[in-house]
């Protein structure tokens, strides 16, 4: 369909490209949302609850209101009486009637300065009547819990996914998913060993370096504009619409090109809606809020603590016969992402291994803790931690190697998993083999170290799904200087997604990446994108950009055909030149399509613009609410795609102090084609940050040698050079001993550069 897929060699993809917004970042000139200032701008502060669960008896804001420099003070009754959420709609802008966690917003203030707003908050007096509180997820899950966090939850609006979500037997549970495959009891009987274990993980904060912040303006025409350090423009727009009860068409969300990290913590609306109300009350002045680090860590969404009970049966040969999971997710005081995180986590285990019999019940439960949100994988990190720990325990129980048991049960290409989903592009076995080799090249493990130090090795496997149904749109404009402009709404939160999209468009048009740029995300200009999250941008937005490029190319060929007196089918486009396929010497530059027709300057003779537009969607199969299975509809699709990864480590533990050192690590990730090598390399290296300083050189040095050996820019050559180096290293290792191994790469490099400076496969 797209010529990009047909070409074996890429000119821009897979190369290191300086990131689009890089200059602004290293010079300090790029403006993050936190750097924005506007004329007449006010500063907001939120007075937060000091009680975990309490009735609000009285709020006295009189002293705050009369403080000089204060322009607006809001309590719940001053706000639209709406409820917003992300699948389960349960949250007011400010606490309504009672508070449900320490840190819940109760009063909001806008003032001339942050200091005045803070002082005003100190002058507000709130009388509470404490209610019993519940923090523990097991207590909260009881039929008669110590406290019911949302008495009215039966009436809450929800998106209809999964089985019936509200069960009066568990009045605090707000989301429930189940999966049923085969008969677990029968599977346990077929096993030689049955093991039951419980795994828990702690609550965590995302801690993006740029704290949550935004500027909101409710203007005199009734439009709400929000500039936010967000990772999801359209979900934010939708939440503002629900919270303020105004239509999408009245809302404009702008995300600056510079966003200081997100990690899942900047998908939901924070105070954008609340500050819009402050803006209106304060006379249509822009209102800025910057969360303190404490607010950002504790009250802007946390990673959900999971309690995961797993019972599995395994035969002596390593075959897993049955698996039963019971998961309780501590959702905190409001549903937020908990509703969806719980669903994604329910399917997480099923992308790794084969379970002939499988049963899962997964509840997300209200407590009086801070609400949880997405955190680097929508619940997958929690569930994989449990599953991988459990697989290790199963291996121990039958005296099998951690690698062998995984290899035995790993899903393979084309297999249908325990949720009825067909598995595509599965690299499970290969990844496991890679990390095994990776660690084995360091020789056998020596457990005893110096003094109190002991060593051990371990491996883990993971898969990560990406949400479906999924949709991204893109607009691609070709300017009269042949610059390509991409308009998309996939927020670049530091992962470099706009540069990835630039590379895709540059590869398509066969132009240098600096001839392509992206527009700032602005929902009045840039088209729909589901969200920067769920690992979906390169795939979903990337395909949308590619399709929009195809669209605009069609327009260019059609216009050029008239000028060149040929049919569009006879023509092709590369490097912004339209040429006759059979006779490339007959060509015209795209810029020649633009003429100065009249005094308005250089435009298309027909007027208008070269504007391509496309939407890329991934459908999903209908899910049976009883079994959680994908329907057998020819697709058998629950997610857009699934990526897989494996890691092996050798660690040293100080048995006296408990200090742990990461000594060696092998990482194998199935990244498909790496569109941006440096970006992905950097992202993978985060895992090794606490490694001793010299370790990474082993990999970097070799990689450098392989790339230079191959000749820069040759993809197949790199593969060949990698194999050559590997074979020679192994030979030298065997024949001359391990101490010679590091010399091989550099020796070989010197030799080749001496004979053939452009590299083995370089042009």
């Amino acid at each position: 369909m797209h010529n990009i897929k047909d070409s074996a060699e890429f000119e821009v993809l897979g190369k290191n490209v300086i990131r689009e917004e890089g200059h602004g970042k290293v010079t300090g000139l790029g403006k993050y949302a936190i750097d924005l200032e506007m004329p007449r701008m006010l500063w907001a502060k939120i007075k937060r609850s000091t009680r975990p669960h309490a009735k609000i008896i009285n709020i006295d804001v009189s002293r705050a209101q009369s403080l000089a420099g204060v322009h607006a003070v809001l309590v719940d009754k001053d706000c639209p009486q709406t409820l917003f959420g992300f699948g389960c709609y349960d949250e007011p802008l400010l606490a309504r009637g009672k508070v449900r966690y320490i840190g819940e917003p109760v009063v909001a203030v806008a003032a001339d300065s942050e200091a005045i707003a803070e002082q005003a908050c100190d002058l507000i007096e709130i009388d509470y009547e404490d209610l019993p509180a519940v923090f523990d997820v097991h207590e909260a899950f009881q039929t008669n819990p110590p406290a019911i966090v949302h008495e009215e939850q039966e009436r809450y609006r929800r998106v209809p996914i999964g089985p019936v979500q509200y069960d009066p037997k568990h009045p605090n549970a707000f989301g429930y998913y189940r999966i049923r495959t085969g008969e677990v009891e029968k599977g346990f009987k077929e096993a030689d060993v049955v093991l039951e274990r419980t795994y828990t993980n702690a609550m965590m904060g995302h801690a993006p370096m740029e704290r949550h912040n935004s500027v909101s303006l409710w203007d005199a025409d009734g439009n709400v504009t929000v500039w936010s350090s967000s990772q999801a423009a359209y979900p934010l727009l939708n939440q503002i619409s629900e919270a303020l009860d105004i239509p999408h068409s009245r809302i404009r969300v702008i995300i600056p090109k510079y966003v200081g990290g997100g990690f899942g913590g900047k998908i939901e609306m924070k105070a954008e809606g609340l500050c819009a109300v402050l803006s209106r009350v304060a006379g249509n002045r822009p209102v800025k809020i910057v969360y303190t680090r404490e607010e950002s860590l504790c009250w802007a969404g946390v990673q959900h603590p999971f309690d995961m009970k797993i019972k599995s049966g395994v035969r002596k040969d390593g075959t897993i016969t049955s698996c039963e999971m019971f998961v309780l997710v501590n959702g905190g005081a409001y549903a937020q992402h908990g509703f969806l995180v719980t669903r994604q986590a329910s399917y997480g285990p099923l992308g790794s291994y084969r379970f002939p019999n499988f049963k899962l019940d997964n509840y997300v439960v209200y407590t009086n803790q801070p609400p949880g949100v997405a955190y680097r994988g929508f619940g997958n990190t929690q569930i994989h931690f449990a599953l991988e720990s459990h697989i290790d325990e199963l291996a121990n129980a039958i005296g099998m190697d951690a690698y062998e048991i995984r290899r035995k049960n790993i899903l393979v290409e084309g297999e249908i998993n325990a949720a009825g989903e067909i598995q595509h592009s599965v690299a499970g076995s290969e990844l496991l083999d890679e990390i095994k080799k990776g660690l084995e090249q360091h020789g056998t493990l020596v457990r005893e170290g110096k003094g109190p130090w002991r060593r051990g090795r371990g491996i883990a496997f993971a898969n990560k799904d990406s949400v479906a149904p999924s949709a991204s749109s893109a607009i691609v404009k070709v300017h009269n200087d042949e610059t390509v402009e991409i308009r998309h709404s996939a927020g670049n939160i530091g992962q470099g997604s706009s540069t990835t999209l630039i590379q895709i468009a540059a590869e398509f048009f066969k132009v240098r990446p600096d001839r392509v740029k992206t527009a700032e995300v602005d929902t009045w200009i840039t088209p729909y994108d589901q969200l920067t999250g769920s690992s979906r941008i390169t795939f979903a937005a990337g395909n949308a950009v590619l399709m929009a490029c195809e669209d605009v190319k069609g327009q260019i060929l059609k216009m050029a055909a008239e000028v060149m007196q040929a049919s569009p089918e006879e023509l092709d486009l590369a490097g912004m030149k339209v040429f006759v396929k059979d006779n490339p010497d007959r060509f015209m530059a795209v810029r020649e399509l633009f003429r100065t027709v009249f005094f308005t300057g250089s435009f298309l003779p027909t007027g208008g613009e070269l504007l391509g537009k496309a939407t890329f969607t991934v459908p999903s199969s209908k899910i049976d609410p009883e079994t959680g299975h994908a329907a057998d509809d020819g697709m058998r699709k629950i997610f857009s795609f699934c990526t897989r990864a494996a890691q092996a480590v050798e660690i040293a533990v100080n048995t006296e102090t408990g200090e742990v050192k990461l000594e060696k690590i092998a990482i194998a990730n199935d990244v498909g084609l790496a569109t941006a090598v440096a970006a992905i390399g950097g992202a993978l290296l985060i895992i090794v940050s606490p490694v001793e300083p010299s370790l990474d050189r082993v990999y970097i040095g070799r990689t450098f040698c392989v790339v230079v050996l191959a000749g820069l820019g040759s993809v197949t050559g790199t593969l060949a050079a990698g194999i050559i180096l590997g074979v020679i290293e192994s030979l030298v290792l065997t024949m001359f001993g391990a101490s010679w191994a590091p010399a091989v790469a550099y020796g070989l490099l010197l030799l080749v550069l001496g004979i053939r400076p452009q590299g083995l496969f370089g042009r």
Partner: protein, 160 residues
């Protein structure tokens, strides 16, 4: 009660009227509009707000502006030579040491201070120097590489 602050910012001498309790960070960001200096934590832990005062590194979120009266402040906006990036800035870009970029100004200034006192640092010395600068994206490996590459470039430039 506003007071006069004599300050040199990125080579330019200025007299600012400020409140005595204003932080250097706020004077730079809100007063002068140099928003390249970032506030990550506001309590001197994360290193994002690092600037140089007479060549020494300070946390501008813990420094009263009045404390730098009569001194020269260098921020991230002041280290490039016109439109030509400082080798540290360029190497950060080339090595993929910048992701979200929020910590980059503090890290680049910290590295600059290191290289002016120790032009040929070992990898361990680089890691030690940037201990007080948090980065949540990169895992530091690329940052260390970039600093070492810039150090080598600056040394060869000095010898030439």
């Amino acid at each position: 009660m506003r007071r006069a602050l004599n300050i040199e910012i990125n080579g330019r001498k200025q007299v600012l009227e400020i409140e005595p309790n204003e932080l250097l960070l706020d004077v730079l960001r809100l007063g002068v509009g140099l928003t390249g200096t970032k506030e990550g934590c506001g309590e001197g832990v994360c290193g994002s707000c690092t600037v140089m005062v007479d060549g020494e590194l300070v946390r501008s979120c813990l420094t009263l502006a009045m404390q730098v009266d009569g001194k020269a402040v260098t921020t991230i906006e002041g280290i490039a030579n016109g439109s030509e990036l400082h080798p540290l800035q360029r190497r950060f870009l080339e090595h993929g040491a910048v992701q979200c970029g929020f910590c980059s100004p503090g890290l680049i200034l910290t590295a600059k201070a290191l290289l002016s006192s120790n032009p040929d640092p070992s990898e361990a010395e680089v890691r030690d120097a940037i201990r007080g600068n948090f980065c949540r994206c990169t895992g530091y490996v690329k940052i260390v590489e970039a600093i070492l590459a810039a150090a080598a470039e600056l040394r060869s430039g000095a010898n030439a």
